[in-house]
Amino acid sequence: MKKSLIALGMTGTMILAGTSMVMAEDKPYDGTNLVFWMQAYGSDPSIQRAALDKVTADFQEQTGISVEYNIVDWGSASQKLTLACTGGEAPDVADIFFTKSLATMSSDEYGLMELNDLVEEMGGEDTWITAGKDEACVDGDWYGIPWRADTRVLLYNTEDFENAGITEAPTTWDELVEDAQKLTVTDEDGNITHAGLAWYSDMGRYDQTWFSMLAQCGGTLMNDEFTEFTLDTEQSKQALAFLSDCINTYNICSNSLDASYDAVTEFMSGNVSMVFGVTGETKNNILQNAPQMEGKFASAPLPTATGAENEKNGISFSAPIGIFKTTENADAAKEWVKYFCSEDVQLYMSQELGLLNSNCAVMENSYFTEDDWLKAFSTTIANSQSGDMPLTTWSQIDAWPDGPIPSMCANVVNGTDADTAIAECLSQIEAIGF
């Protein structure tokens, strides 16, 4: 009896020793600790925590690296990343944005680490959408691996459409205006009581709506090398005119500069039939806050100016995961980034947080392409240009509420003529520099 117990004990020890030897071979970073910062996403903070718990636990089981995550709120994310790049407290790995600014303020000692080798290892730049490269790659060097993405589509109320006799989502600007006019209800004084259309212009942000329109009529915000703003062009003026006309001429859209204004909440409350330019998260948001809307809304790619298939007629955004130079375990940190940005994990995170993805393969997954809501997003993102310009001062140029570009859009909507507004915007951009 005693003997067999000892024998059992010995075999046990041997097995343990055996596994630990295997582990030592397989897990060179066993016992390493990493700190990971990520911004808040999704409809409920607890869902994000649960998803991160699972992903970090799986990763630890595979590699022995334990990842301590901290969810950074959007109110302080920018300050924290700035301080981290300039000598303050820095995590090993972080979910970043404004990559070019962060890379520029980084020094030899602090800031973002260059990750070209990791990009090659993960399949090169074609692994991700164009916006992914534009955001993460600064002067030919990559400072992050693209993960989440976003694009803009049309959200519409199917019930309103049926009642107005509209059978299909609009595909051109003319159709958009026509449909919106059918859906708009005004009182005897001409005030809109129910708007056919609303911009996804939370807090009076017209800039992103205008970027979409610019892409739809074949324009771009900057030249291909990102060395010059192409604002003084036919397309740019056409887009500005359309932005302003929807509000001032066609009267299908309210002019809202209200800080509390949010197009999707208007949509949920039934005040608005179409929202121009919603994001992937919108569906969960609606279902959570307005369950009565279930089954009454749908998404479609945004219309283009004439229906012609412009190249890159949508806009998309991307954000990368970066590693800080101050990390003591650069290799372990790279392992984590590689794991976190892998297709499987990204698909899982996309599902849990209701986000889109920068990885082309993930966006081609049936989860995106066969879902009634998401397929508009996967179509749009495949043919899109970057909505954020890779400039150090982009956060200043596109600063809400009164950076040059948002001001230009708001001024045109409020009656300034396009040429004056463009000239003013360009001179302000000149003053800021890029």
Partner: protein, 287 residues
């Protein structure tokens, strides 16, 4: 008889008017709380209705159970309590010592200079100095600690607390009491400690309340120096519900959290308002 009735009516009318006017002011003061509560207990589909309904069609308390699992609210509240109470105690100690010294020795140069420093420090706009302060704290390894928060809160509360307690000592504690102790051979600190302090409790409590509220409400500093979720105070924690574009998409649950975090502070005030006012009152004779 007639004159008497008239006077009586006048008196009743005065009472009625007193309460009517207080009621009207209450409407303004309580409007946000009314709207927080109504939003929190509305059924989900009603929250985003326009025009807004003024009362919920039925009561729904799901938010009150959901909020605890949605964010670590209990931890946040504990953090707020720990930090605010510690900051209160330290501020009161510093302010009492300093305030007493200024009050009793205002003719000395050091005291006069200190007094001016206290006032001038109130002029400093916090935002830019926070960057320098951040790096001081970071180099002392105090980011992501309660200590880092407490130090800043103490320093921001101390000047006003000192001015408060100084005027309390000026007005409420006669120097004559101290003179007799001095004749008995008591040291300067002994006079402060054994004679003055025991009879200054009301002034100290009201000073403490002020320090507590300053710490309880602070947002920016805490949001900058803390990156660990488990250390956040509620004033920052509520930001968990706000998304990238700060849209009001989680209004009902945000309001629920707002109600819950205001309750402890209300309870504290309900008990302490009497002390707050009497403590201030004694020092109010002089500014």
């Amino acid at each position: 008889m007639n004159a008497k009735t008239k006077k009586k009516i006048q008196k009743v009318w005065k009472v009625i008017w007193h309460y009517i006017s207080l009621f009207l002011i209450s409407c303004f003061v309580l409007l946000p709380y009314y709207w927080m509560i109504v939003t929190a207990v509305k059924p989900t589909e009603e929250v985003m209705q326009s025009p807004a309904t003024l009362l919920p069609s039925r009561l729904s308390f799901t938010n009150f159970t959901k909020v605890w699992s949605s964010i670590p609210l209990a931890t946040y509240m504990k953090n707020s309590m720990v930090v605010s109470l510690t900051a209160t105690v330290v501020s009161v100690i510093f302010a009492t010592l300093c305030g007493y010294s200024i009050s009793r020795y205002i003719r000395k140069r050091a005291q006069r200079v200190s007094f001016v420093i206290m006032l001038v420090s109130q002029l400093i706009p916090g935002i830019v100095t926070m960057i320098s302060l951040y790096f001081i704290m970071f180099n002392m390894k105090l980011t992501n600690t309660y200590v880092g928060l407490v130090i800043a809160y103490v320093v921001w509360a101390v000047p006003f607390c000192t001015l408060m307690i100084k005027s309390y000592f000026d007005a409420a504690i006669p120097v004559a009491i101290e003179e007799s102790a001095r004749i008995d051979g008591c040291s300067n600190f002994g006079i402060f400690w054994r004679v003055c302090l025991p009879i200054s409790v009301p002034g100290i409590i009201s000073t403490g309340i002020f320090a507590f509220i300053t710490a309880w409400n602070e947002y920016m500093w805490a949001s900058i120096i803390l990156s660990k979720d488990k250390l956040k105070p509620v004033s920052v924690g509520i930001y968990d519900f706000i998304g990238q574009y700060s849209a009001n998409t989680k209004m009902a649950i945000t309001m629920t959290a707002g109600i819950i975090i205001t309750i402890p502070a209300i309870i504290i005030f309900a008990f302490l308002q009497k002390y707050l006012i009497s403590g201030l009152s004694a020092g109010a004779v002089k500014g």
